[in-house]
């Protein structure tokens, strides 16, 4: 395995590629040490979810002094992420360009609107996990997930036509036999307004979006999309416990361009491991956004990227969106 030339590794699938990388780095003698300023590229505008994620990561890295250099954040918005991701992919071989993974990382290429897709990046790590909570308004006559399952027709809202919420509602529809009409809104704010105004029956949301409403008692949680119950909501069952074969979460992932050295991959993997395991990260990101601690290394993350992409590809096929 170690004797395989770099070029051959590149040609192999991402999974074997990453695996080969981590093996070869194990015996590496010379190390990668950054000597210029790394940049986290945010493919969206300032102030959004991806932007806050990138800036918090940069803050934590600064605070813990994990790098010998500074780290900066740059916004490259446009084309639903296509511009920024394209820019990252173009920096082939540059171990100083870092990107974060969002839903658009998969869906924009699947819509046929991006020259690059997930195969054009080196997976580095995932540093947190964001579950989805199924919620109904406080006054709803849907008391638990069994009630929800027994309905013949339901309306839900999604923050966009291609989103995790539409994926989840599609999976629920397939498995319960109920017809779920998913109304696409523009962003989760509008979904929440529609939910609280009684214009839809139920919604999916991240803890960061839903928790304040649950605390205030305006929404009730019915289920979570994780494989195990969440420590913060021990009384809320998982979808699997409730008879659905659904487990889907959003990983806060990190990618870099292709063709960066094995040393650089393991260097960055290690940096992000330290971020994910730090108290600062827990305090400034996990607690604030209700994310669950989780670290996934380069090799495993690469497999997850492929699985996730297949999931979205199937959803878009079902939604009859041409590619």
């Amino acid at each position: 395995m170690i004797s395989i030339k770099t070029n051959t590794i590149m040609a192999a699938t991402t999974v074997t590629f990453a695996f080969a990388m981590s093996v070869s780095t194990a015996i590496a003698d010379e190390k990668f040490v950054p000597d210029s300023t790394p940049t986290i590229i945010v493919p969206f505008g300032a102030g959004g979810g991806s932007d806050i994620l990138a800036r918090t990561i940069a803050n934590v890295i600064d605070q813990l002094e994990l790098l010998p250099t500074n780290i900066q954040v740059e916004n490259h918005p446009g084309g639903s992420g296509a511009r920024g991701y394209n820019y990252i992919a173009e920096q082939r071989g540059d171990p100083y360009t870092i990107g974060t993974v969002s839903v658009s990382f998969f869906t924009t290429p699947l819509l046929g609107s991006s020259p690059v897709d997930y195969r054009d990046f080196t997976p580095i790590a995932a540093i947190a996990m964001s579950p989805y909570i199924v919620a109904v308004p406080e006054g709803s006559d849907i008391n638990d997930i069994a009630d929800l399952k027994s309905r013949e027709r339901l309306t839900t809202g999604t923050p966009g036509v291609v989103s995790d919420a539409s994926l989840l509602s599609q999976l629920m529809q397939e498995q319960s036999g109920a017809t779920i009409d998913a109304v696409p809104f523009d962003g989760v704010g509008e979904v929440l307004s529609a939910m609280l105004g009684g214009h839809i029956d139920f919604m999916f949301g991240n803890p960061g979006e839903i928790e304040p409403q649950l605390e205030a008692g305006t929404l009730r949680a019915l289920a979570v999309s994780t494989d195990e119950r969440l420590p913060s909501f021990p009384e809320v069952p998982t979808l699997e416990e409730s008879g659905y074969d659904i487990e889907h979460v959003q990983l806060r992932g990190i990618v870099m361009p292709m063709e960066i050295s094995d040393h650089a991959v393991s260097y960055w993997e290690d940096i992000f491991r330290q971020v994910a395991e730090s108290d600062a990260w827990e305090e400034e990101y996990l607690n604030r956004f209700g994310d669950v601690p989780r670290f996934v290394g380069s090799e495993e993350f690469s497999g997850i990227l492929e699985e996730t992409n297949d999931l979205y590809a199937r959803m878009m096929n079902e939604l009859d969106i041409e590619q």
Partner: protein, 506 residues
């Protein structure tokens, strides 16, 4: 009620602490600049300044960010009036009469009215915010897709008022705008529309960019093609000064605009720009001299500016009382709240009353600062009319290109603005007014979303539109607006015929 006002007063006292005053001042000052710079609007301004403002910490961070928002609302009208180039989306309607006034040599009066209208709109907005936050937030939630559709029908019916003399041309212009609004990702169905495979149009075409080109560049192309080079217009020094008597003259329009702006602004997803269109349309519709609108009527500046300021305060209500961002700008502010360690949501008012009322207090101090700043600046800004166009326009074109470029750092956007400018030039030459195009571009996508979302929930049954009370009322008003001119004409015809037959009988 009284209690709310006391809490607001307490907030204002807290907001007068030097550190907060300073943060607010920085915010409104940057906001003014962001507003004045064509292309850059409040959402982009707040987003760009977010990392810097967060470093102020706590209440000061939010005070500065909110200050940018309100400052941009004040500043947006400056270039609209002086150059005919909208500084940001919510000041597009101000171009129509504001720029006409500047051309007549009343730049100072128009700028002054912008300050007064912004102040009145802001003050009414803040007082309503303090008194009505909680009840109005729940009421706004009643506005679902069905009600949104009806509201958009009503707003679009005002095209019949704003379209100028030629109805056919007005509707052609409207439909071009609605078509441009469809470019990009289909918000309901999914696939992309009319992008020609380019990723640059995937997110659609930014309304501000079109507006800047359509109004700004086209006006410059027109003046380049006419013999204006080097000529100085006659302006008296007095024309640079605001006229305080205008407040009294426009009092009805100011109050009406503020109320319209407030109630539209509080509905998540509609936005300040739509509120200025409704406000302007209503002001013209209810005016005794509707023909003056478009020719430089002071009311045409008062209506949209009162509305967009009231709307900017109203849009804070869903954010602070429910934790719901109703617009692009408040979505960035929500990020700001999270980054300073607060949890926006229904409990924010309960858990952090001191914070909320202090922030509301800074809204008030910011409003006062903006009035003083902009009144002082008015004569200097207005004196731009003395500068020869041959000198002014190259500089302005440079600034506009910079402003448009800085939205997404994209040269494609600059190209789009130039194309919009050429289209605007052709429209003016052929006698089409660009105003309905802008209406279609802003309101069309909202109408499409409303109709399609409603029909998804109702499983394709259109009868829901006439089953819900708010929707019925709005649709009825739409019919009234459309039919009024016809009925009036009909009555007149019947009346003259009656008189004619009477005469014959005699």
């Amino acid at each position: 009620m009284i209690e709310s006002l006391e809490l607001l007063a307490g907030g204002v006292v807290n907001a007068a602490a030097p550190a907060l005053l300073f943060a607010t001042f920085i915010g409104v000052l940057i906001g003014l600049m962001v507003g004045v710079l064509p292309g850059l609007g409040p959402a982009a301004g707040v987003a760009i300044m977010l990392p810097v403002a967060i470093s102020f910490g706590g209440t000061a961070a939010i005070a500065a960010l909110a200050g940018i928002y309100f400052g941009a609302m004040f500043g947006g009208a400056v270039t609209s009036i002086l150059l005919g180039i909208p500084g940001d989306a919510p000041s597009v309607m101000t171009v129509i009469d504001g720029n006409a006034m500047a051309k007549k040599g009343e730049a100072g009066r128009a700028l002054g009215m912008n300050v007064f209208a912004s102040f009145v709109g802001g003050s009414i907005g803040i007082i309503f915010l303090a008194l009505l936050s909680v009840p109005i937030a729940s009421a706004a939630l009643a506005f679902g897709p069905t009600e949104m559709t009806a509201l958009m029908c009503f707003a679009l019916s005002l095209v019949s008022v704003l379209g100028g003399r030629n109805m056919v041309k007005a509707f052609v212009s409207l439909f071009i705008g609605m078509w441009i609004g469809m470019i990009g990702l289909d918000p309901i169905g999914g696939p992309v529309r009319y992008t020609q495979g380019s990723i640059h149009f995937f997110d659609g075409i930014d309304f501000t960019i079109v507006a800047v080109g359509l109004f700004g560049f086209s006006a410059m192309f027109i003046s380049l093609s006419s013999e204006l080079r080097g000529s100085l217009q006659k302006h008296s020094f007095l024309s640079l000064m605001p006229n305080i008597a205008d407040i009294v003259k426009c009092k009805v329009i100011l109050v009406m605009g503020s109320i319209v702006g407030f109630f539209i602004g509080v509905i998540p997803g509609v936005g300040a720009t739509a509120s200025t269109m409704l406000s302007y349309g209503l002001a013209k519709k209810t005016s005794r001299n509707p023909d003056e609108f478009g020719q430089g009527a002071i009311g045409g500046v008062a209506a949209p500016e009162a509305a967009n300021n009231a709307s900017s305060y109203a849009s804070m209500i869903p954010l602070f009382t429910l934790g719901i961002p109703g617009s692009a700008t408040t979505a960035v502010l929500l990020g700001g709240l999270l980054m300073i360690g607060l949890q926006p949501g229904p409990l924010l008012f309960v858990n952090e009353p001191e914070f909320v009322w202090t922030v509301f207090g800074t809204f008030w101090t910011g409003n006062i600062m903006l009035v003083i700043l902009t009144l002082l600046l008015t004569p200097f800004l207005a004196s731009i009319v003395f500068v020869s166009r041959a000198l002014l326009y190259p500089v302005v074109i440079g600034i506009v290109i910079f402003g448009v470029y800085s939205i997404n750092y994209s040269t494609i956007d600059v190209g789009t603005a130039l194309v919009a400018g050429i289209i605007g030039y052709l429209m003016l030459k052929l006698g089409y007014t660009p105003v309905p195009l802008i209406l279609g571009l802003v309101l069309g996508p909202l109408l499409e979303r409303g109709v399609r979302r409603t029909l998804i929930s109702s499983q394709g049954d259109p009868s829901v539109f006439i089953e819900r009370p708010i929707s019925i009322v709005l649709l009825f008003l739409t019919i009234v607006v459309i039919c009024m001119p016809l009925v009036k004409r009909g009555v007149r015809i019947v009346f003259t015929r009656l008189q004619a037959s009477k005469r014959r009988l005699q």
